[in-house]
């Protein structure tokens, strides 16, 4: 009986200690991709940092992006997309042309639907260099 209890306890210990690790593993995107299923950039000569972000307030979804070039005179231009999860894949539902010089910061607003999962994706050219970044997903 004691052996059985010890066996059960050890199984629970192993299972529980694996839980945070599996949570981390679940967040890992597919290797060789940006965010979730994005495209690897061919080179990063002009780009210092890129980040897409997203927030939700009620049904209002706010995608945003922050792109920083290495030089303050580098042109940055591209598109900010808002995507909605549909049947296991992401569908573009809205997009905005974005641009800046040296540093690009942009935020948009979209009236979403309740119970829907969204994410932001930015595709930009930083001085001719292609960069794509994807935010985490959030649900309204």
């Amino acid at each position: 009986m004691n052996r059985k209890i010890a066996g059960i306890l050890l199984s629970l210990v192993m299972a529980t200690t694996m839980m945070p690790l599996s949570a981390m593993a679940a967040q890992q995107p597919v290797p060789n991709s940006v965010g979730s299923g994005g495209i690897i950039t061919p080179f990063w000569t002009n780009t210092a940092l890129a980040r897409a972000n997203i927030s939700v307030s009620g049904s209002t979804v706010k995608p945003s992006a922050y792109i920083k070039a290495k030089s303050s005179s580098t042109n940055i231009e591209g598109t900010l997309y808002l995507e909605e999860k549909s049947g296991g894949s992401w569908e573009e539902i809205s997009s905005w042309e974005i641009s800046g010089t040296g540093t690009l910061t942009v935020a948009k607003s979209y009236m979403g639907s309740a119970g829907t999962t969204y994410r932001a994706r930015a595709e930009v050219s930083v001085g001719g260099e292609y960069v794509e970044c994807v935010s985490a997903s959030c649900e309204t």
């Binding site: 306890l9 890992q28 990063w44 780009t47 940092l49 972000n53 303050s72 960069v131």
Partner: protein
Amino acid sequence: MNSDAVFLKSVFEKSIIERGTDAMASISQAEAVIVDIEELTRKILALPEYMQSLLYAKYIWNLESKASEEIFSVHHAKQKLQYAKSLLAYSLRLTDEQVITDHCMEQATQSAIDSYMKNIGSEVAIKKPQYSDEFKKQLKEIKAAQMNNKPLSLKRVGIAIAAAILSFAMTITVNAELREKFISWLVETFPLFSQFTSVGEVQPNRSDFERLRNMKLNYIPKGFTYISLFEAEPMLVYNYEDSSGKSLSINASLSTGSPILADTEDTQVSEIIFNGQLAYWWEKDGLCYFIWQQDGFELNIVGQISHEEAMKIAKNIQI
């Protein structure tokens, strides 16, 4: 079943259901592959009983998932069946884009149930002994006497240690603040850039962003003047520039799990402990990068400044 086991069971079950759902989403594009029937049969017999039942119901008796749910009192039979099939495919070294053919599944499940049926009736039934009340009373007294004299055994020590580890693991799992000290950044390094994703369980809310908006940058390197502030939940970006055109940007964000992509090609990224948390810094192409967390917020500095200046800025940020 006690509350801890109920909690764990629900977590595993949820994981199986989610993975089964994910597997179902990609099945139409998968390649059906023929596998060794004997090996597949062995794998099926190694599965938990309820998964075997779902497979037999599907491939031998052609029952739909709904019927299986009613017969075996199993919820989410469709997802669990898909999970079982994915597990079998994985155990047979198939890739994520491959599935076992239905014909192989039919043959192997038939073989498995044949093997199972052969073993029925071969167990020796052990009758539970019937003790008299008098004997049970005597047994109780003997046991009580033994408990007081029993020396502390290695087995008991092991159980106590396991219980302590279990308590710690449960605490760290449910206590976000405590876990924050042990799980900080998930860093993935690709050939040309690195991706920094915070994996803490902090759930941002409106008052957090208000707090971020009120943050104070109590130190900016000499010569840098304020250019602009970008403010849009969940992040802020402060921009500075000096007279020679050197730039400095400070980004603060709620912890949303959105990754930061930064140029780390051919660069050694240094890990340090900053404010009790894991932080990263490196220098490349005349820029200094510093990424860290503070009170559950994600911050980073990118600027044409030295590492020492970046650290000084970070140390003087008040949130």
